[in-house]
Symmetry: C5
């Protein structure tokens, strides 16, 4: 799964019927080596109520449809977790601001 930061929103009124009510967010992938944003922003569906600036976990492909919010929906990237902390090589590389 990919770690990313929430950066913005996408709004569409003319869309596939099954997308009605889903929240579309713009996120930017985070490189876990440096914890810096890296690569182009992507559009995802929010399945957990993530807010701008939060560090989240994305799930892609058919697995992005395996949540209560996204079941059978035409989406290929979903936010499925808000990250509390990440430890690599016994060092805390990310800690959510409380």
């Amino acid at each position: 799964m990919q770690i990313a930061r929430v950066k913005g929103t996408v709004v569409s009124t003319n869309k596939a019927e099954k997308l009605m009510g889903l929240k579309l967010l713009v996120v930017k992938p985070i490189d876990l080596e440096t914890m810096e944003e890296k690569g182009s922003p992507i559009v995802v569906v929010d399945a957990v109520g993530a807010g701008e600036g939060e560090v989240v976990m994305l799930v892609g492909g058919s697995s992005s449809r395996q949540t209560a919010a996204t079941e059978n929906k035409p989406v290929d990237q979903s936010i499925v977790a808000i990250i509390d902390h990440i430890d690599i090589d016994n060092k805390r590389v990310f800690q959510k601001f409380q």
Copy 2:
């Protein structure tokens, strides 16, 4: 999901039976960092009635079959939304022409 701009059309008469009646469009991916077109054009199925020049959202893989138009069809990229506006870091980076 990927943001792209509609650029053209593809026509085929000899095709898998399940593709009959589906509209094939050529789109070019848009980099959300710059809002410029970037990368090679791709062929997609239109599930929402998108017109040339419009900025749309694509869904790929098995999820591209999760619309009324594309269910069980041999397609791997579908247009599922026409974009109204995109906000990143509290700035409007795209606004559909009214």
Copy 3:
């Protein structure tokens, strides 16, 4: 979906039982920007009776199994259409030889 040109054939006698009777072709991807071949050749299953030299549309992943010929088969790239013409920015960039 990807556009490609048929370049050759692959023959195998020792294969998964479900592949029996399927035709394996070698194709080369075409860049829609230049209409030139680009990238390494790949092996695909033919679901529409494509001939050598023809420009075709490929579908990948689970969607490549959504044709009468490929249903439930262990294939991940299928030819699902023979292309008649492609228009980009109101110019005809490809026209099948009649």
Copy 4:
């Protein structure tokens, strides 16, 4: 499938309900040519009880949901095996420490 080494952990309390009870690990891909770590770390679900430092096999996409632990879960990369040894060109390139 991809070979990787377990490097750390990810903790999340606010997540999709189906992720409850699953262990999220950070792994780094290993290049089988050199047996060195290569590329950015990724987040995976542990389906076999892997420990830090162990060399494991990852399965991605819908196949990552084909274990007792991950069935129907919104995950797209799972650890499905702890590696004992790898032989390439009749040389042992990896042997698990006993």
Copy 5:
């Protein structure tokens, strides 16, 4: 589908239950342009009884589970054919040693 050459084996005793009895092989992708090995080795499941040195066809993603050996198994790359010969542009670029 991808063409590759069998290079070695992977052994694991601690693995997902559904992987029991499956043979894990190391293969190296072959570039069909040059018929040379290219890129990093990958781990695959053997569904046809391939031997070291043989040139095989791989199927990836959910399609890799569409064989008698791999149905419902947590695998994302399977060997589904041993290649006899490959013709490109009317030239034989590969012929299996008899």
